[in-house]
Subunit: 201 residues, 2 copies
């Protein structure tokens, strides 16, 4: 990015950034409401009042736009709770799992893109590689804090436990999308209860 | 199916069934070696010596053929071990996870189709709905046997643990496909060790 750009060049850039932001806003709403398959680029284009061709000028493919929606979701959902100091780590995760039950369209989108990400050259591959690495780091750091506070159970391998939290959560979301009698938050809570002791009253 | 079909009608049927079987054999080899994206219908058609058009007569879409490959994989991998009486339940699962490390192409195929299955009307949806329901039942039954033998740890909810084994396994495979430093079998073994006591020596 050219940080020396003169003010008169900022006009169109800022306008373009704002346009992108409103497209992602609209896409977030459309895919949250209708899921991966139900939502279309045409729906998004209609919502922001532009043609699909113009929209493709900002996001060259549906996959690129969907990755932007996932990034927006992370800003809305993931980042907030971990900075919240009033709840402990297991509670934050379980609350997040309960929140996710209210946004099946986004979970569907996430699940489809996550599956596709394992193929080479898929636009969302980079997003998921970074996401998994970041969450493993963040969760490991939280587990180390709990260990220091004497709350981690004996023999827990922190790195593998961090991977396992992410894995269990992703996997249980898939089962829940196919059968909503599966209790995502309870499965996650069970696992966290196996590795973490309750906080002292 | 017409069980009263006269012998002379069985000829073409048997031939057709055999043809389907050899297509699935070929597809299994192609996708095991090259994965979801690397394998193509043309590769499969070439291998069985037919045109892609003829192949589509047997399997109307790539997705239909891939579901047949997943079913073949289940016959090869899943069903065998659980009938093996010499190993206990955790060992069977961990051995299977280690086996899966040797067939990344099939795991990639499984992961992509699993993600896509959560969308409506996707051909693999039915396969995954049934697979998850079946595995939850099978694993619950195995956990109940361990409970009866005094090997289940206190407070484990059997149905949720069965869902969680499947979920953790699916999720950790996805992370492993994107970063092979993730140890699938060790994560699974850790979890099983949290809910199941070792067998008496």
């Amino acid at each position: 990015m050219d940080t020396d750009a003169r003010p008169r060049r900022r006009g169109p850039y800022a306008k373009s950034a704002e346009r992108r932001r409103s497209i992602v806003d609209a896409a977030f709403e459309v895919f949250a409401a209708r899921g991966y398959q139900g939502g279309s680029l045409q729906d998004v284009a209609d919502r922001v009042g532009m043609s699909q061709t113009s929209l493709l000028h900002y996001f060259p493919s549906k996959a690129d736009l969907l990755v932007a929606v996932l990034n927006r979701r992370d800003v809305v959902a993931d980042t907030g709770p971990l900075e919240d100091e009033t709840r402990d780590f297991p509670t934050i995760l379980i609350d997040q799992a309960r929140f996710n039950e209210g946004v099946p369209g986004l979970i569907e989108l996430y699940t489809v893109l996550c599956g596709e990400s394992v193929t080479e050259h898929y636009p969302a591959r980079d997003y998921f590689e970074h996401r998994f690495a970041r969450l493993r780091d963040e969760y490991s750091a939280e587990l180390r804090k709990l260990e220091a506070a004497g709350r981690l159970r004996e023999g827990v391998d922190i790195e593998r436990a961090a991977s396992s939290i992410v894995a269990l959560w992703d996997g249980i979301q898939t089962q829940w999308l196919l059968d909503d009698s599966v209790d995502m938050a309870a499965c996650l809570a069970d696992y966290l209860g196996l590795i973490i002791r309750p906080s002292a009253p």
